[in-house]
């Protein structure tokens, strides 16, 4: 045997309050979620700030400066070698006269 419960009647005021409460809960949830997301974003930003990959320009600049320094050193050493160091026969069938003028391996 079933007993039929009488349908609960809500006044208009009660309905408005219920909907308002539900909306507030929903907004609170979303605020919570937003805060959580913002926290994650902030954490990620902190992590990225500590990594060079977050600064591609700086990395590129550093590599280019190193490249310039290395090429500069090599070119200046080359010029100085020509100006200040002795000549030398490095290889090949040189005549005795040439060997006299330029001792093998530098004098």
């Amino acid at each position: 045997m079933t007993v039929q419960q009488p349908m609960r009647q809500f006044s208009q005021q009660q309905l408005i309050e219920a909907i308002t409460r539900a909306m507030k809960m929903d907004r609170d949830d979303r605020d919570q979620q937003d805060k959580a997301l913002q926290g994650q974003i902030d954490s990620l930003r902190d992590v990225l700030a500590g990594l060079d990959v977050a600064k591609p320009d700086a990395l590129y600049r550093s590599a280019t400066a190193k490249r310039l320094a290395a090429t500069k050193t090599a070119l200046i050493a080359y010029a100085v070698d020509f100006q200040n160091h002795k000549p030398a026969i490095m290889a090949g069938p040189a005549s005795p006269v040439l060997r006299k003028a330029i001792p093998a391996g530098g004098a």
Partner: protein, 269 residues
């Protein structure tokens, strides 16, 4: 300066001749090599002309052949250095921002590195223009100094090459003249194909006998010139001695006159 972390090999100012001799250049090596080749040819020529070289005519021809070879070696080295000078000029041009460059020279490490350095400096120019310009200036100055020295060396060597060639031809001419008295030497001369190195002033179709006469005349002139110089030198020495003696006599005379005048003055007093 940050420590270079790129595998850039050490560059050396080396050139390779077409005969396969590799030489590391320095500031004035080319003119030195050409001068040595010229001196060697001149000494050899004189020894052949004076017949003071041991071994007789066949050896004279061999010595002339050697002088030709040494001269060719010096010339090849000069050409290689000239090419290297062009490479260096291209590298300096790149550093100075030349709009174009010889693409064929890109294989050379100096040019490739100059391009690399210029590109890096240009990239950094927007961020730190002063540092970038300073780096460019340092490299350009060093390369320009090397280029100037190599250019001067090549210019001096170029001036010496004609006289070196003249001496080599003199050498070959003397060797050819010696062929008049040796068929073996003449055969050797033809084998070595030395005829193209005979003195340019000689008429074509000259025989070894004719050459021998010419060389004999040259040697006579040289000896006469040397003895004339010696005579002139003796005369000059005698003249200097006579002048010195004259001056000494003048001085003695002046002293005597002064003494006489002093004595007269004392007597008057």
């Amino acid at each position: 300066m940050p420590k270079p972390s790129f595998p850039i090999p050490k560059l050396l100012p080396t050139v390779k001749t077409v005969s396969g001799v590799t030489v590391k250049l320095s500031a004035s090596v080319i003119q030195h090599v050409v001068r040595n080749a010229r001196d060697h040819a001149a000494e050899t020529a004189r020894a052949i002309e004076d017949k003071s070289l041991v071994g007789g005519p066949p050896e004279y021809v061999k010595a002339a052949k050697e002088a030709v070879k040494i001269h060719r070696e010096a010339k090849e080295l000069f050409e290689a250095a000239k090419h290297h000078r062009d490479i260096l000029a291209g590298a300096v041009g790149i550093m100075e921002g030349a709009p174009t460059y010889d693409a064929a020279s890109l294989y050379h490490p100096v040019v490739a590195l100059a391009l690399d350095a210029k590109a890096a400096a240009d990239s950094l120019a927007e961020i730190d223009p002063e540092a970038s310009l300073a780096d460019l200036r340092d490299v350009t100055e060093a390369l320009t100094a090397a280029l100037d020295q190599l250019t001067a060396d090549c210019a001096t060597a170029k001036c010496r090459l004609p006289s070196a060639e003249t001496e080599v031809r003199r050498c070959v001419g003397a060797a050819y003249a010696s062929c008049a008295e040796s068929s073996a030497a003449f055969t050797l001369f033809k084998q070595h194909r030395l005829a193209e190195f005979l003195p340019v002033a000689w008429p074509s179709g000259m025989t070894p006998m004719g050459a021998a006469k010419l060389v004999e005349d040259t040697v006579k002139q040289r000896r006469f010139g040397a003895s004339a110089t010696k005579r002139r030198s003796k005369t000059e020495k005698a003249l200097i001695a006579a002048r010195a003696k004259d001056s000494a006599l003048d001085r003695a005379n002046d002293d005597a006159v002064a003494a006489l005048m002093a004595a007269q003055a004392e007597g008057e007093v």
